[in-house]
Amino acid sequence: MQQKEVMRSEPPTAEVSDFERLSQYRSGQVEALAELVEKFKRPLYGFLMNMTERADTADEVFQEVWLRVIRHSGRIEERNFSGWLFRIAHNLVIDHWRRQRPAISLEKENEDGLTLKERLADLQPLPFERLDGEQVKRRVAEAVKHLPAEQKEVFLMRLEGDIPFKEIARIQGVSINTALARMQYALAKLRQELKQYRETSPSGPGKEAQP
């Protein structure tokens, strides 16, 4: 496990490669940019779809993200391309929300009040394998939709974009502890959701245990 972490912590070479592709585009190779779009289309579009919950909005923001990359490709000074890409996406999603829902609070936490003690107290393994895979997926996807915006963003940036927590914290303008806490709350909610599902599902073990 330790060895794995050591290996994971090595600086990602992919970022350098992305940066080089961007340089190649600036030198006139459109194909280099097309490769970048291809590489990031699923994580970025998945992030936008989950954040905006509308395909037409996701399309619009996706296009705008890449237009900004194209326009400002000469200005990028950092080598973390994916972080830069998701930062642009984050800003555009916020702009979108402001237009749609001016009253939305980007800072207010809507935590569920679950304490760590409660979370640690409930350490019975979730019987994922005993539930229907598709049902669990649907349940999780639905639960993700209902996460508070800040938590959902951290969750999606990690899972869709594989963005490091330090970078997520920078993008959201919060401390790394806040970013980690948001991820913890998101996971706690998903866990709670699956637990409820287990208890209420006719095929779940909670029901099986009853006479």
């Binding site: 496990m1 330790q2 972490e5 050591v6 994971r8 912590s9 340089s23 600036r26 030198s27 006139g28 459109v30 940019l33 097309a34 779009v37 291809e38 289309k41 699923r42 579009y45 998945g46 779809m49 996701a58 399309d59 996706f62 296009q63 890449w66 237009l67 194209i70 326009r71 000469g74 760590l116 979370r119 350490l123 393994p125 979730l126 994922f128 669990v136 997926k137 649907r138 999780v140 996807a141 993700v144 969750f155 999606l156 990690r158 899972l159 869709e160 594989d162 490091p164 927590f165 330090k166 401390s175 790394i176 502890n177 980690l180 806490a181 913890q184 996971l187 998903l190 866990r191 699956l194």
Partner: protein, 184 residues
Amino acid sequence: MNCETVQRLMLLASSGELSGWQRWRLARHRSICPACRQAEQEMLRLVDTARQALPEVAPGAGLLTAIRRAAETELRRRPLAGNAPRFSPALRNTALAVALALLVVAFGWSLRLERSPSLPAVASAPAVQETDELFTTELFPESEDLAVLSAEDVFYVERFIDGTGTDTINALDLELLWLEGLAI
């Protein structure tokens, strides 16, 4: 180190963002806390399930084509990187002359400033000490860090420091090691 701190370290471990010192602390806590070991397994499984549950979506081909067209248009519109715009010799000479004149004026101005009476010294702002957020007391609130390490701990510390030559140990880590009599 308490279990809440450990849970955050577990998240950082899953994203490969732990320093050698943090990895050692996590490993040490794991070895003595079955609840956290189980919580970590649970967290990894939940993340894995959630990753699989997220719908696979991708933009349509039309959208990708539009982006490609925009990229081509932008390249036609502006000069390519590395190809500096070419100026006529006359324009280049004029620019050089202007630059030279500005340099002379700046030099003269600096001489004048040197001769003027010295201004009272302005108190400089206190230097901001850059610290890694991950090592703030918020994340590591326990004072137990300063406890004397056991022989086993020393083994781990040496292994993590010596064995992973590239690992970074920040100032606070070194301070802790020094307090614990392990300074290198």
